[in-house]
Symmetry: C2
Subunit: 230 residues, 2 copies
DNA sequence: TGAATAGTGTCTTTCAGACAATATGCC
DNA sequence: GGCATATTGTCTGAAAGACACTATTCA
């Protein structure tokens, strides 16, 4: 087989002009009946005043995950979350300033972590229902669509939903997560049958009373890591 | 909600020290009863004389995909292939020279494209059965394992196997692809029932005679793009 | 006719999906 | 009792998996 010598062997890394590398974070949460994503308003050129994904440059001494978590904390103060690398977008010209390669991450936040922040004054960041996303800067529209597809498909064959619920929850809350993300109604009996048969949930033995009706059993996931099924 | 101002707004991109960005390519093919991966032998520090994934620096004016294809062509001369982004690895310290973030790609090559190259003299690149991979440079061992997992799972819910077969093929060849990658035997009747029911294959009407036995119908995929099922 | 691969059907079990009535607690 | 949510089982159809014999070609 004819083999060309590797270019990368012939030059030291320092001689190459280097692109910038950023992380962008898709922060999802569920509020009520809606899946929402966190966006920040850009203050400067390019795309001034456009909404964009929170993100920023990767520092030389942090991993990509650490960069994503750092950006997340800068925007929300939250840090204990589900984090998953989504995809890397790097077409030349996606940023008019310079060559920027961005590694996109998905983060899932529980609704109650969110409530800890509620009541503070609004900043330049805002939650948008994914069904009502404004025009976005750069190629962020494409990134969000890619992330939504990933989230929807992963919901069907993993326990990723634990990232959107507090530790203990009612089965009806879990079902709501599925319904909101998949954007369709599910049959209560079939949902419970299926989800319980996976063996990922355990009953806490406690019941939650939340109004003038029969109290619900609380469940929790028996694994904290992501698990695939099917 | 309290929001920290985005660091990325406060500085121009030029002030940041930039990591190097490379692509590494996992080139898979099937030869006989084995799944093989292309590796190149490093000629210089670091990891001199270790085998590594083919790869190199991303040029400023090419997309990540173009970089992967360019590296592939430099190593094999092949360019019409299935290409899929795998994952981005960027831990500090994964390359002792400098901060290097690498975007890994999976490439699938058909066995007959490979034969076009056979007979030429061997270079510093070599095909290794994935079951007998030597010690690899950098974190390439981890990357290869990640890629193998992706390949195996994607085989089960997509038509990705078209990347490993020539345009027309016998069902027994397709079954062999599945058996080699999944590393287990499949029942012939169930396999054919299942794969034909997906509606992704069409019979060419031609038969292939290849020895002292009944000739086999040739099939082809009716879509050239990747399709997901299940 | 022997060797080698191609091609085919049934049964069983499992799982998804449609579907409605009863239970419990608060007011 | 009225309201609101929780909890539970059956039937049906589809798909997965176990399993063995006949067909065709060439030497």
């Amino acid at each position: 087989m004819t083999i060309a010598r590797r270019d990368s062997e012939k030059y030291s890394a320092e001689k190459y002009e280097r692109p910038s590398v950023t992380v962008d974070v898709l922060v999802f949460t569920i509020v009520g009946d809606e899946l929402k994503i966190l966006l920040v308003k850009r203050a400067a050129w390019p795309f001034e005043n456009y909404w964009a994904l929170p993100g920023g440059f990767v520092q030389m001494n942090e991993s990509l995950e650490q960069a994503a978590i750092r950006e997340l904390r800068e925007e929300t103060g939250v840090s204990d979350v589900y984090l998953e690398q989504l995809y890397t977008f790097g077409d030349p010209g996606r940023d008019p300033r310079t060559r920027v390669i961005t590694v996109a991450y998905i983060v899932l936040i529980t609704a109650d972590a969110l409530e800890l922040k509620a009541g503070s004054d609004a900043g330049e960041a805002q939650w948008f229902p994914v069904k009502k996303i404004p025009a976005l800067a750069f190629d962020h529209q494409k990134i969000v669509e890619y992330g939504l597809n990933r989230l929807r498909s992963k919901l069907e064959y993993s326990n990723i939903s634990y990232g959107l619920l507090s530790t203990e929850f009612r089965l009806s809350e879990l079902q709501k997560v599925y319904e909101v993300i998949l954007d369709r109604q599910l049959d209560k009996r079939n949902f419970r049958k299926k989800i319980l048969s996976l063996g990922l949930l355990e009953a806490t033995g406690e019941k939650e009373i939340s109004g003038a009706h029969r109290p619900a059993m609380l469940y929790r996931f028996n694994k904290k890591e992501i698990v695939f099924f099917d």
